[in-house]
């Protein structure tokens, strides 16, 4: 009988209180927070900083776990930055770094006047863990990377739900891979890499290579359909349930865009927060090390992209690309010497924030295995091009820095598939995505600095000076106002000007009775105003008595607003 989410949550809490993490897994979980502990820490940060931090629950996952958001500083009326982490469940590091950056930012507010001032004028929102259900697998007795939340789903679309989960065949408390030693001619498609034989790569028949192994996720064919572990527990994966380039009918993608409670809550949140000027996603896509490139590509049938006939954009707008390129130069490198590999932009939060929500959207992979020590011994040189470059890099790095991150292949005694021996091994779950606790701490510091720097870049509209009032004739006045963006980023990304999200900067004159407008509009909009002092001039001619006053309001939720009272009097 399934547990209700509430009961399940209660049991989870009880388990946390009664028993520490299992011995053996302890070193890996040190510094990492289960859903219950994360919620407790987030709540305590809120309690410790009542003037600065407000914690709210954005959504409750199907497993009954809270998805929290912290609002730090400012208010919903101040321009804001959203930091979104933990959409991809196995990547706990993103959540942990988000939590640490929150701690660091709140600490800096206490000790540093500039940070305090910054977070008075701006608002930082942080969602530390969007997919708490999948992340919880990190703390389970049996460790297995899963992506989906606790909905039940039919991953392989065979109309049976969760019928073939992975199994721990070698009893090491982890789900790794399993290879069946078919030998030549046995139907295997994989062969040991000649340089690093622990790694498998696809045999290339064009080169006369013979497959020697079949490769599966570790486990039995529970439902006897000839497939191994094709439909385990886990429902929708929030990291592929957003709307940009969403893929229907893919395992984990869910019923449709925003069908998961977690992602829908983000869609509603961002839609409601017109003050969000930018979004920073700690996740599986990175555009800070390798910035997004802009391209004008002809759309469907040669029509321009971004139109009904031409269809969606497939690359960012060239006007925005220049900003991405420049900001990438300022961004910190979480891992030296080697670039991260981004996951495809299919239903991910990062590309959604840019293409659909019109925001400057930045993404960091947070952490990845670094460059391993050079191995120049004979026969140890990797081929170029290397078909398994990332695997080889990660394998060698883990061997040098975190040997338990790779499980050496070992035959499981007494187990055969189709009469062939079975070996279990490969990358340990979570090892390639999540560093040791000490690394999390330093990344948290680094990201706190960067998030504050990003916040400082958010646009800000002001009047360049007092509105100039010129007497044109008796009771006739010309008003001249220069609107300026004093900060770094433009008031709208080019994509934002297209999507009308966020709102454009509005310039609005409020006329009391007794003053009439002869030229100029009462309400006007600025498509986009570049940063670093970009200005736009507005002029009006009004008729009214000397000494009469009217007000001018300039701004947008994402750029801040100013109101000035203008007196009809020549200066």
């Amino acid at each position: 009988m399934p547990l209700t989410p509430v009961l399940r949550r209660a049991l989870t809490l009880a388990a946390v209180l009664v028993a520490a993490a299992p011995v053996g897994a302890q070193s890996r979980t040190a510094g990492y927070h289960s859903a219950a502990r994360l919620a407790a820490v987030v709540d305590s940060i809120g309690r410790a900083n009542p003037q600065l931090v407000r914690v709210t629950t954005l959504a409750t996952s199907p497993g009954g776990r809270p998805v929290q958001v912290l609002r730090i500083g400012g208010a919903d009326e101040k321009p804001g930055l959203l930091v979104l982490a933990g959409a991809f469940g196995p990547q706990l590091a993103s959540s942990e770094v988000a939590l640490r950056l929150v701690r660091e930012v709140t600490a800096r507010v206490q000790r540093d006047a500039a940070t305090r001032a910054l977070l008075t004028d701006y608002t930082l929102y942080v969602v530390p863990r969007l997919n708490p259900d999948a992340a919880e697998a990190y703390f389970a007795t049996l460790r297995h990377e899963r992506r989906g939340n606790d909905e039940r789903s039919d991953d392989d679309r065979d109309h049976v739900v969760d019928e073939d989960a992975a199994d721990d065949l070698n009893g090491d408390g982890m789900i790794t891979m399993m290879r069946v030693r078919t030998g030549p001619g046995g139907g295997g498609e994989w062969m040991p890499d000649p340089v690093d034989p622990a790694l498998l790569r696809r045999a290339d028949p064009l080169k006369g290579e013979q497959g020697l192994y079949k490769l599966y996720i570790e486990g039995r064919d529970d439902d006897g359909d000839g497939l191994y572990n094709e439909d385990g527990p886990g429902g929708t994966d929030p990291s592929i349930n957003f709307a940009n380039n969403y893929q229907f009918f893919v395992a984990g993608a869910g019923e449709h865009q925003f069908s998961a409670a977690e992602t829908r809550a983000v869609a509603e949140f961002v839609t409601a927060r017109t003050n969000l000027a930018a979004v920073y996603v700690l996740g599986m896509q990175d555009n800070l090390i390798k910035p997004w490139e802009g391209r004008r590509t002809p759309g469907i049938g040669g029509s321009p992209q971004g139109t009904s006939a031409g269809g969606p954009f497939t690359a960012i707008l060239p006007e925005d690309a220049t900003w991405y390129a420049e900001i990438a130069k300022k961004a910190p490198r979480p891992v030296a010497a080697i670039d991260p590999v981004s996951a495809a932009e299919n239903g991910d939060p990062l590309s959604w924030a840019y293409y659909h929500m019109g925001r400057f959207a930045f993404g960091s992979r947070v952490w990845w295995p670094g460059r391993p020590p050079a191995d120049t011994a004979a026969g140890r040189r990797a081929p170029t091009p290397d078909p398994i470059a990332t695997e080889r890099n990660d394998y060698r790095w883990l061997k040098a820095h975190d040997p338990s991150g790779f499980v050496e292949w070992k035959e499981v005694a007494g187990l055969t598939i189709d009469g062939k021996p079975v070996e279990v091994g490969g990358f340990a779950p979570f090892a390639r995505l999540n560093p040791a606790a000490a690394t999390l701490d330093s990344l948290g510091l680094q990201q706190a600095g960067w998030v504050l720097e990003l916040t400082r870049m958010l646009p800000r509209t002001q009047l360049a000076g007092p509105v100039t009032v010129t007497s044109v004739g008796p009771r006739v006045w010309r008003l001249t106002a220069d609107v300026v963006n004093t900060n770094y980023l433009p008031t709208n990304a080019a994509i934002g000007a297209r999507s009308r999200l966020p709102r454009r900067v509005m310039v609005e004159l409020a006329l009391p009775t007794g003053i009439t407008l002869s030229s100029g509009r009462k309400q006007q909009f600025i498509e986009s105003l570049r940063g670093s002092g970009g200005t736009q001039r507005f002029e009006w001619v009004v008729v009214g008595d000397a000494g009469a006053t009217l007000t001018l309001r300039v701004g947008a939720p994402n750029t801040g607003a100013v109101t000035e009272t203008i007196t009809l009097r020549a200066r």
């Binding site: 229907f248 449709h256 839609t271 469907i300 971004g306 009904s308 969606p312 309400q523």
Partner: protein, 601 residues
């Protein structure tokens, strides 16, 4: 006396809450008036119940409460065939009520192949709701008179939600509007980006319940009075002297921002909010910030997802006389197997509905991203049509060219003439508001006039039931093409040693397959299950070729053969090797094709 009086009272109720007469009647509810007992019919006119249990006037339009009341009466009078339910609440809390129509005595309605019918997704496109409701009424009233109706309801279920945009339907009825407003639903939106929602609506300056046009005399204006109909303005040709400026739709600058009517209630297109091929507003205007942002969209998706027995669908729109099928965008290409089915139904529709044409949305109309019918077919594999109800063809039963009301281009003169001639010859001029002068808060003296909101996109009263009936018959024709499976024969042959070979022939007797090709390719609906009981199954096979006897073994769970699809008007053959001598029962269970069993002799 008492009996007669209460009967009269009951009949007064049955007269129903008519809210908007098909032409030019006031939009406020008429005061109830004494209703006499209808005179009993002496001879039925075919296609209509002569003395229906529920008396409904089908020559007018109803608001949501009126539709709901009629639905209640139909369900109360026909409990064996009509059930009233709800798929959820609208933005403003109205029930999106659902009529389930089937013969409830002949099996579980949710296991019969089903047809989904909705209307009014665009709130101004009202008559789809009446046509949907008329369908439930006609089926319920006629089932005991016409055997084919009874048999349709024995085989199939119809899920009918007359209005999937009830909030804005009532807005159209009760507030001043044009024939094209509001298209949206009523979730508040900031259309002009000034941070305020719904702050500058259309305004009914002359208080007649219709939003018409504003004109102002100007000798240099670009319009003049039509010589053919003094109610119409036509553009002047170069060199001609003008008489009027057209100042747009009736309204003023409510919020004093310098713009007129720039942020009316709502502000999106509910038929661009669906998940399949959804696009942001710079690609598809009106799509709203994200797919399924609207609760009405969510309610339909939830119901349809929970009812995989829905094989066909109709979503009524107006206008133009089109029998539309997807795709809405050129990226999607319907599979030839499915197009064949669509074509048969669409071509039949062109005969059922004179003046209507069978068309493809993106190719023959315009590109639609995130449309409802695309979600039905794309995500659910459901064969879906959208009828654009009413066509100017119906004015004089001939094809008309062009469109546009007063102020339309000179090229539209022909159509204007048609509309205005129809108005004069068949409606005594009732369709137009005569120009009258009013004081405009910003423009000074202007004249207000033009076509009423219930002209141009909806049928006048005397054509309403006719067009409703024809559209219903098209949709019922489609319903009757939905898959229907049957075990046609079960034969046995002894194999000796206590083993029997059991062969079953399973038919799909209708045009549509149990799975569209879209469904097959994306594994949307589970395979059809053909199972045997009455013996221990040793092995099970699908017979690939009945002539040669070629067969494919199903190794797993051979007692239940899984068949990916049973095409329309086709048979599949399966066989088992069974321990035992029978009799055996073979059951076919198709999610979209029904359940049927047969026992061997």
């Amino acid at each position: 006396m008492t009996t007669i009086r209460s009967l009269a009272a009951a009949l007064a109720l049955l007269a129903g809450p008519a809210l908007l007469a098909a032409q030019g009647m006031p939009t406020t509810p008429p005061t109830p008036r004494a209703t006499q007992v209808p005179v009993a019919g002496a001879l039925a006119a075919l296609g209509a119940p002569p003395n229906p249990k529920v008396a409904v006037h089908w020559d007018r339009f109803y608001d949501h409460a009126g539709l709901h009341e009629i639905a209640r009466r139909i369900a109360a009078a026909h409990p064996e065939r009509v059930k009233l339910g709800s798929i959820g609440k609208s933005t403003q809390g109205r029930d999106m009520f659902l009529l389930t129509v089937s013969n409830f005595k002949s099996g579980d309605a949710d296991r019969k192949p089903a047809m989904w019918i909705d209307g009014n997704i665009h709130s101004n496109e009202i008559q789809g709701a009446e046509f949907s409701l008329y369908t439930a009424w006609y089926l319920a009233e006629m089932a005991d008179r016409v055997p084919a109706v009874d048999s349709l309801l024995t085989q199939y279920t119809l899920y009918i939600v007359p209005s999937i945009n009830p909030d804005a339907r009532d807005h159209f009825m009760h507030k001043p509007n044009t024939a094209s407003s509001p298209r949206t639903g009523l979730a508040p939106r900031d259309n002009d980006g000034d941070g305020r929602v719904d702050e500058d609506n259309l305004d009914d300056l002359n208080g007649d319940g219709h939003i018409t046009q504003m004109r102002r005399r100007n000798v240099n204006g670009r319009f003049k009075v039509s010589p053919e109909d003094p109610r119409l303005l036509i553009p002047v040709l170069p060199g001609e002297q003008g008489e009027y400026d057209l100042l747009g739709q009736e309204g003023f600058d409510n919020d004093g921002d310098g713009f007129v009517n720039e942020d009316a209630d709502g502000g999106y297109d509910p038929n661009r909010n669906w998940p399949w091929r959804w696009m942001p507003q710079y690609v598809q205007g009106g799509s709203d910030p994200y797919p399924t942002s609207l609760v009405e969209t969510q309610n339909v998706i939830r119901f349809v997802t929970a009812h995989p027995n829905i094989a066909g669908a109709q979503s009524y729109h107006n206008s133009g006389g089109m029998l539309l099928r997807g795709p809405g965008v050129p990226q999607d290409e319907y599979r030839p197997q499915d197009v064949q089915v669509y074509d048969v139904i669409g071509r039949a529709g062109e005969e059922i509905l004179p003046g209507y044409r069978y068309m493809i949305v993106w190719k023959d109309l315009y590109i639609v991203w995130g449309g409802e019918l695309d979600w039905f077919y794309g995500a659910k594999g459901i064969l879906t049509f959208s009828n654009e109800l009413f066509t100017p063809f119906l004015y004089f039963n001939r094809q008309e060219q062009g469109g546009g009301g007063p102020g339309g281009g000179a090229q539209n003169r022909r159509y204007q003439t048609t509309e205005s001639r129809f108005n004069s010859l068949l409606l005594m001029g009732e369709a137009m508001v005569e120009w009258t002068e009013v004081d405009h808060p910003q423009y000074g003296k202007v004249e207000i006039g033009g076509t009423k909101k219930n002209f141009g996109r909806v049928e006048p009263g005397f054509l309403l039931q006719s067009d409703g009936h024809r559209n219903m018959m098209f949709t019922l024709f489609q319903t009757a093409q939905m898959p229907l499976v049957r075990v046609d024969s079960v034969t046995t042959r002894s194999l000796g040693g206590g083993l029997t070979e059991v062969t079953a022939v399973v038919l799909n007797t209708r045009l549509a397959p149990t799975h569209t090709q879209q469904d097959v390719e994306n594994s949307i609906t589970r395979p059809d299950l053909i199972s045997l009981s009455g013996g221990r199954v040793v092995a099970g096979f699908v017979i690939d070729n009945p002539v040669t006897g070629d067969a494919t073994e199903q190794k797993r769970d051979p007692a239940t053969i899984r068949v990916r699809n049973i095409p329309g008007n086709s048979a599949v053959r399966v066989k088992w090797i069974v321990q035992g001598a029978g009799p055996f029962t073979v059951t076919v269970d198709a999610v979209k094709g029904g359940v049927s069993s047969l026992r061997s002799r």
